[in-house]
Amino acid sequence: MKLLEHEAKEILKARGIPVPPNGGVIKTTAGLAAAMKRAGKAPWVLKAQVLAGGRGKAGGIKLAKTPKEAKALAKAMLGMDLITHQTHGHALKVKELLVEGGVKIEREIYLSVVMDRRAAAPAIIASAQGGMEIETLAAEHPEAIIRMTVDPNTGLPDFQARRLAFALKVPADRVGAFVKVAKTLVRAFLDLDCSMLEINPLVLTPTGVVALDAKVVTDDNALFRHPDLAAKPDHEATALETAAKKADISYVGLDGNIGCMVNGAGLAMGTMDTIALAGGSPANFLDVGGGANEERVTKALNIILKDKKVKAVLVNIFGGIVKCDMIAAGVVGALKKIKLKVPLVVRLQGTNVEQGKEILAKSGIALIQADDLWDAARKAVEAVK
C-alpha cells in the first residue's frame, strides 16, 4: 500500500527526521490562511497530495511568496486534474493540498531503502544528485548511484551510515545529522515492514538536513502486525477494488471490456494475456481463489459486472482439488441470483470436467462453453464485437 506524502512525513517526523514546517492539509481554500499561519513565514509551498511522482513538472507543486498568490494557486490547484509521466495518461484529481513553509536548500540528495529481491535483504539506494527521479538518474548517471545491503536483523550500523555520508560528500559539520536520518530511515523501514521508503530530495540546509519529500510503500502481507497502517485508506484502490478486497477477492481494474474470473493469480494473468493475444482487451485481473464455490463466484461476478465497461465475461477455472462439477454448480447458482445482460463464456478444465460441462449445459442458462483457453478467449472477443 502506498501512503500519501503527508502521511509518510508524519511517520518520519514522529521518529525524529526533520521535515519542513508543517501547515497541515487543506481540502478547500477556507483552511488556507490558518495553514499558512501554522507553516510560518513566507514563502509557502503548496503540494498536491496524489500518488504519483513527477508532480513538480506537472504543476502539482507551487511556491507562493504572498498570501494573495497562495490563495490564487490553491484555488487553481484544488480540483485540478494532474497528469504526470507516472500516471500513464490518466488524470488524478487533486483533492488535498499540503501546505508547508519554505526551506533553505544548499544541496539535494537522493536517499531510499528498498527491498532488494535479488539479495533477499533491504538495500539503501542513494545519490549525491537528488531531486531527479531515481529511474532517470539510473539511466543517465548509473555511476552516481550508491547501493548498500542492509542486515534485516541489525539495521544500519553507525559506520555504514558514516560511509554513506562520506560517499555522498556530506560536509563534515552535517555528517552527524545525516547519520541520524539514515539510521532512523532504515529502522522505520524494518519496524513498519516497508517495501520502499524514499526521501527525494533530502536537502542539506545551512545547519542540517531536511526531508523535503517522502514516499512510503508498505508490505500488505505484514499489515496484520500494523493495525494503525491497516486502518489507513488505500488511496490507490478504486471503489471496486476496495469492495473486492473486503470480499477477500484479488481484483485489479483495467481499461478493456472483457471481464475475467479465474482461479489463481498466474492463470488470471495468463488469461488476460490470452484475451489480448486473441485481439481483445481484458477489463480486469481477478483471482477468485482456491475454493471457487457459489458464494465466491457470486461475489466475483457482482464485482466484475459493476464495471460498466464490461461487455462480456470470461470464466476460466482449472479445477484441481476443487472439482469442476462443484464450480459449475457454483456458476449456475450465482447466475440464478444475478441477471446477466452480457454474454458469458465459460471454460472449465481439470477434475470432473465432463460432469461440470453437463451441469452448465442442462442449467438452461444462456452461456457459451469453450474447450481450451484459446477457444474461450476467441469466443469472448467475438462476443464483444
Binding site: 535479488r118 529511474e135 479465474v262 489463481g264 495468463g270 482439488i321
Partner: protein, 298 residues
C-alpha cells in the same frame, strides 16, 4: 530419481492438524506420499490421520527419521516454522503458506545461509507455492495429483494454477513429468529458477524443462544467463503478465512491474536471446514441447 522428492522421501507436516494441513495431508497420503509425522505445538503424543503428532520438529525428526518438512502453518507463524524445520534437521523444506511478510523471508534467508555456511545443504521451496510433485512417487503440496504422469519433462513455475494448466497440456500429449516444482509467487523465494534449473540439468531422468515465469523481479533474467552458460538440456519458457499495468500487484506479492524493472518484455528478451524456446500463447505450451520432441521419439 527425479529431483527434490522421490518415493523414499519421509515427510513431516507442520500445521498437520489444522484444516488446510489435514485436508491436503490426506490427499498426499492417498497419492502414496510417505508422510511419517505431523507437528502441532501442544498436540504432541496424539495421532492424526494414523500418524504420530509431535510438539516440535526436533522431536518429529528424531522420532521418525523424517527429513523433508511440508508447511501449512498460517502466515504470521510460517517464517518461524521454516526456521524450526531447518534447525530440527530437515534438509528439504516446502512451504505452501501464502502471505508471509517479505521482511520475515529476508530474515529466513539469512538464517538459511548461516546453516549452509556450517556445511549443510538445504533446499527451501516456496513460500506461496503449490509444492513439489514427482509423479507416481511423491506429492508434497496442494496440486491435483491425477493430472500428472511420470516422465522426463521437468516443470518449474512461480504460479499454481498456471502450472496445472501447463502440466495438463503436457500429460494430454503423452509427455510425462520428472518433477514439477512450484517456486512460489513471493518477492523473496527459497529456491530461484536458477536453483531448480541446476537440479534438472544434473538429473539424468529429466530431458527437457518447461519454465513458467511472470512479471516482477529479475529471477527469469538470471535463469536465462544460467541457461546460456551452464545448461545443455532444452528449456521452453512462458512469461505471464504481458497485459498487466505497471505499478500494480497482480495477485502474487511478487508480480509487479516497478518502473522499467520486471517487465514482460525484458524477461522474454533475455530468455529468447539465451536460446530458450519462448511460447507466446499459453494454450500452446504442450504443443510446442511435443513438436520439438517428435523427431527424438521417431
Amino acid at each position: 530419481m527425479a529431483i527434490i522428492l522421490d518415493k523414499d522421501s519421509k515427510i513431516v507436516v507442520q500445521g498437520f492438524t489444522g484444516s488446510q494441513g489435514t485436508f491436503h495431508s490426506r490427499q498426499c497420503l492417498e497419492y502414496g506420499t510417505r508422510i511419517v509425522a505431523g507437528v502441532t505445538p501442544g498436540r504432541g503424543g496424539t495421532t492424526h490421520l494414523d500418524r504420530p503428532v509431535f510438539d516440535t520438529v526436533h522431536d518429529a525428526v528424531r522420532g521418525t527419521d523424517a527429513f523433508v518438512s511440508l508447511i501449512f502453518v498460517p502466515a504470521p507463524f510460517a517464517a518461524d516454522a521454516i526456521m524450526e524445520a531447518v534447525d530440527g534437521g530437515c534438509s528439504t523444506v516446502i512451504c505452501i503458506t501464502e502471505g508471509i511478510p517479505v521482511l520475515d523471508m529476508a530474515r529466513v534467508k539469512r538464517f538459511l545461509s548461516r546453516a549452509e555456511s556450517s556445511g549443510r545443504e538445504i533446499t527451501l521451496v516456496g513460500p506461496n507455492c503449490p509444492g513439489v510433485i514427482t509423479p507416481g512417487q511423491c506429492k508434497a503440496g496442494i496440486m491435483p495429483g491425477f493430472i500428472h504422469k511420470p516422465g522426463s519433462i521437468g516443470v518449474v513455475s512461480r504460479s499454481g494454477t498456471l502450472t496445472y494448466e501447463a502440466v495438463d497440456q503436457l500429460t494430454k500429449r503423452g509427455l510425462g513429468q520428472s518433477t514439477v516444482v512450484g517456486i512460489g509467487g513471493d518477492p523473496i523465494a527459497g529456491s530461484s529458477f536458477t536453483d531448480i534449473l541446476a537440479k534438472f540439468e544434473a538429473d539424468p531422468e529429466t530431458e527437457a524443462v518447461v519454465m513458467i515465469g511472470e512479471i516482477g523481479g529479475s529471477a527469469e533474467e538470471e535463469a536465462a544467463r544460467f541457461f546460456k552458460e551452464k545448461m545443455s538440456k532444452p528449456v521452453f519458457g512462458f512469461i505471464a503478465g504481458k497485459s498487466a499495468p505497471e505499478g500494480r500487484r497482480m495477485g502474487h506479492a511478487g508480480a509487479i512491474v516497478e518502473g522499467a524493472s520486471g517487465t514482460h518484455a525484458s524477461k522474454v528478451k533475455a530468455m529468447r536471446e539465451a536460446g530458450i524456446t519462448m511460447v507466446e500463447n499459453l494454450s500452446e505450451i504442450g504443443e510446442t514441447v511435443a513438436k520439438s520432441r517428435r523427431p527424438l521419439a521417431a
